[in-house]
């Protein structure tokens, strides 16, 4: 049984507030959740391969995946991949999955914290002509023929059995790395990472990167900051402060509050 896990490295500022993290890139939290779920249920005879399309620095992120317990990682890296939108990205991922061959299950997080489009898993399933099951909470059973999953689909909870091969995307995210096995981490440090470029994948250059994209970002504006206000600090006994708030909510003017109903 072969499972491919698509991951994306994202800037650490988007995930961690504290600066206690050495690398600049971390695993996208949605992908991390999916990865941990897959590793937790991995059985004997199941091979988990992580693929990631991204810059040179993505190698460290992939190393971390080895440390977390995946069997193999592949870095899809080529200057022609730069600037890919969701269609171009899903095309490159498809080519990589075809090259890996005999893949039974493909897992993704529902979206990344940087792009936040949530389109790649669906687009990938379409590229591969496989069904895509989104909003997955967890896998309850996995065998050679089927995967059974539980998911929340808008307003109902569903248990589904899906014929393999299929693409699934997890709904949840996590920002906590479980404790890594030190020995594994050591091994990961020396692990030679496989890199596939346009030639290895035999991709049509007009279908990936900026050339293959159907959307282009024209410009990006920082979002306007919000108006700062003069504030009244309510301190002293909690009973008093709470009663002031109570009066504000109830619309009573008690001398402190200038709020007009």
């Amino acid at each position: 049984m072969r499972i491919v896990m698509c991951i994306k490295p994202v800037k650490k500022e988007l995930v961690y507030k504290e600066d206690d993290y050495r690398e600049n890139l971390v695993i996208n939290p949605y992908d991390l959740f999916a990865l941990q779920n897959i590793i937790d249920m991995k059985k004997e005879g199941t091979e988990v391969i992580c693929i990631s399309m991204g810059p040179e620095a993505a190698k460290d992120t992939l190393r971390r995946c080895i440390g977390l317990g995946v069997d193999e990682v592949i870095h899809l890296h080529d200057k022609h991949f730069a600037g890919s939108d969701t269609i171009a990205t899903s095309y490159v991922l498809k080519k990589a999955i075809e090259k890996i061959s005999d893949v039974d299950l493909i897992c993704c997080g529902q979206k990344t914290v940087d792009g936040e489009t949530g389109q790649v898993s669906y687009a990938l399933s379409e590229q591969l002509k496989m069904p895509c099951i989104a909003q997955v909470e967890n896998i309850t059973d996995l065998n050679m023929e089927n995967v059974s999953i539980e998911r929340e689909n808008g307003e109902c909870f569903e248990k589904l059995r899906v014929k393999l091969p299929a693409v699934i995307s997890y709904r949840n995210c996590t920002t906590i790395y479980k404790n890594m096995n030190l020995l594994r981490l050591k091994r990961a440090k020396n692990h030679k990472i496989v890199v596939w470029d346009t030639n290895d994948l035999q991709v049509d250059k007009s279908m990936c990167g900026l050339k293959g994209s159907k959307t282009v970002v024209q410009d990006v504006n920082k979002i306007n900051s919000i108006v700062k206000k003069e504030q009244t600090v309510l301190d002293g006994d909690i009973k008093d402060t709470a009663s002031i708030i109570k009066n504000i909510i109830l619309g009573k003017n008690n001398g402190v509050c200038t709020y007009e109903k």
């Binding site: 988007l14 669906y122 024209q218 709470a242």
Partner: protein, 321 residues
């Protein structure tokens, strides 16, 4: 300049004229440059006169309807829309950014090689390049990106709920229905539903029109029950930050901020919310903000009218009296 065909896709099989869809419809009408541009709503599912009528009342120029049985599979739904697209190609398609809408849009964008922009908060028409400009927040909602489609005429986007207002137009619009038959040739049964039960969703409160709102952040993880009961007592609606949603303290449809909903209540009381910009954007419309946080340097305090440096729990306990 040819006339533009603007399509809006309903993601329902019997209630087509949902509030979300009417909002998108209103945006679609705004995108018309003149009377010759046409806004069509695409419906797949059961025939429902009342729903069609409502769509016309809210300004649809045409409804293209493909009749199918209730509870069709998503693959059939996608095939119906694909067949319509092959038959008559619009210029731009607006999908709701719902689970179904997002999936359909992503699949069709690959099938037709059409650019797709996710979760837009605005769409404009750029006369100079004769293209639509899609605007959406990105990078953890710290920036707004303007995106256009290239290499293909068909342009698509999904649109978030509660970004635009719906607007009743007229009772006198002509009933312009177009029927589009589609029969599935072969269906693959590769997904089997073992069990399906409705989630115990509490009555859907209208967050947008709430006068008093309690916002919870990650800091309130262990006092949600208290918070909810106090909110009930004061007639407030409880909403949360992205962090609160990630912690499963609150449902996703109650998320406030750039990636959730923007609200403008009279009073907003924030408990344990640090005040990241992307969240503040969602509550900046509040007339009065009261913030409770244990961290005296929490950014939210700069944007608040009243501040209390304390545990949210303690304040709530007092409010419960």
């Amino acid at each position: 300049m040819r006339n533009k065909k603007i399509w809006i896709i309903s993601d329902q099989d019997k209630r087509y004229a949902t509030e979300h869809l009417l909002q998108i419809l209103h945006k679609g009408i705004e995108l018309r440059r003149n009377d010759k541009d046409e806004v069509s709503v695409i419906c797949v599912g059961m025939s429902r006169e009342d729903q069609f009528e409502k769509l016309f009342q809210y300004g649809a120029d045409r409804i293209i309807f493909c009749e199918q049985n209730e509870g069709y599979s998503i693959s059939l739904y996608v095939k119906c829309i694909e067949a319509m697209l092959q038959d008559k190609m619009p210029d731009v398609i607006l999908f709701p950014a719902s689970i179904t809408g997002r999936q359909t849009a992503a699949i069709l964008s690959v099938r037709f090689g059409a650019g797709l922009t996710a979760c837009c908060t605005d769409v404009q028409y750029d006369n100079e390049v004769d293209r639509y400009v899609f605007i959406r927040p990105a990078m953890s909602e710290s920036v707004l990106a303007k995106i256009t489609c290239i290499n293909k005429n068909l342009q698509m986007c999904t649109i978030k709920e509660n970004i635009f207002d719906s607007e009743f137009v007229t009772n006198g619009k002509s009933y312009n229905m177009e029927y589009f038959p589609y029969i599935e040739k072969k269906s693959e049964k590769n997904i089997e539903v073992l069990e399906r039960k409705a989630l115990n969703l509490k009555e859907r409160v209208d967050i947008k029109s709430a006068k008093i709102v309690f916002v919870v952040g990650r800091g309130m993880k262990n006092s949600m029950d208290l918070c909810k009961s106090v909110a009930r007592q004061y007639g407030a609606v409880v909403v949360g930050t992205k962090a609160a949603v990630e912690e499963k303290m609150i449902q996703e449809n109650h998320q406030i901020g750039q990636s959730g909903i923007s609200i403008s209540p009279d009073i907003c009381v924030a408990f344990g919310v640090s005040g990241a910009t992307q969240h503040m954007v969602g509550i900046k419309g509040a007339q009065l903000i009261i913030a409770v946080n244990t961290d005296k340097n929490a950014p939210i305090f700069q944007y608040s009218d009243y501040i209390i440096v304390d545990k949210g729990e303690n304040v709530l306990t007092e409010l419960a009296q």
